[in-house]
């Protein structure tokens, strides 16, 4: 199985569905800041890895493509969370090099771990 580029997929969600995601993203960014101010920076970091968007995403996938696809989406998020942890680990190790180095390296780590673990899990299977 290989990942396929599917430009038509962009047209599938309605405008309000993108708006919901924008709203959730904005709210979690503000909440993370408020948590950081009130409970400390460690708690702020925890909040940055809170799965705020996933319930909405799974609900929308279930409505568009059915429950099986929604479960597949959750399986993908499971592998993506490995990448998220790698992102945080690399940021932790490289923060002293500044944002110009630490954040691109961390993003690279997310991509490598998420895509790598997907390839190990699904890349060998037949579509």
């Amino acid at each position: 199985m290989k990942p396929q580029f599917n430009p038509e997929g962009l047209a599938k969600p309605k405008a309000w569905e993108y708006a919901v995601r924008f709203l959730f993203g904005g709210v979690i960014a503000v909440v993370a800041r408020c948590v950081s101010d009130s409970l400390g920076d460690f708690a702020g970091g925890l909040a940055l890895a809170f799965p705020a968007i996933l319930p909405a995403a799974l609900t929308l996938v279930n409505e568009h493509d059915g429950r099986t696809r929604a479960a597949d989406d959750a399986r993908g998020a499971r592998l993506g969370s490995l990448g998220l942890t790698a992102f945080a680990g690399v940021t932790l190790l490289t923060a002293n090099r500044g944002p110009g180095v630490a954040l691109p390296l961390a993003m690279l780590a997310w991509t490598a771990v998420a895509v790598g673990s997907w390839w190990l899990s699904y890349g060998q299977r037949r579509a």
Partner: protein
């Protein structure tokens, strides 16, 4: 520091009926509001972009990867670097490592519950937040620097 200076500048240059003095309670409140609006806008844009990116790929197991993309984290950490420095970013990142483990546990629970046809997907995904909070609580009491 640079970002704070810019925000102060914006706050003082903003046309108002009464002038605001740098360092006054009004100005500090204005800086806070500006910061929250900036985070809301950038966080929303980042999540929307990653969501759009997810729609560009199939199968769902692959596009699902973007459900755990560090969209908000990228924005928040970039702002934290500018405003508060690398020591704070390291503490955020440590919290995120633990939060990432919680996300993994949450996603595993979501896979399990989404396969159960008796439970509505939205309700199951919301109930699974308890798993994330459990991992976060364990991290809070065991890993959090004193």
């Amino acid at each position: 520091v640079a970002s704070c200076r810019i925000t102060v500048l914006v706050c003082t240059l903003r046309p108002r009926s009464a002038p605001i003095h740098v360092g006054s309670a009004d100005c500090i409140a204005q800086i806070l509001v500006n910061d929250l609006v900036l985070r809301f806008a950038l966080g929303g844009i980042a999540v929307s972009l990653f969501s759009a990116l997810a729609e560009l790929f199939k199968p769902k197991t692959f596009s699902g990867l973007f459900g755990a993309a560090p969209a908000v984290a990228l924005v928040s950490l970039a702002i934290a670097f500018e405003q508060r420095g690398e020591a704070i970013v390291r503490e955020h990142a440590l919290g995120m490592v633990c939060g990432g483990a919680g996300f993994l546990a949450y996603a595993c629970a979501c896979v399990f519950i989404t396969e159960r046809k008796q439970v509505p997907v939205w309700a199951g995904a919301a109930v699974c937040w308890a798993v994330w909070f459990l991992v976060a609580a364990v991290a809070w009491f065991t890993v959090r620097p004193s």
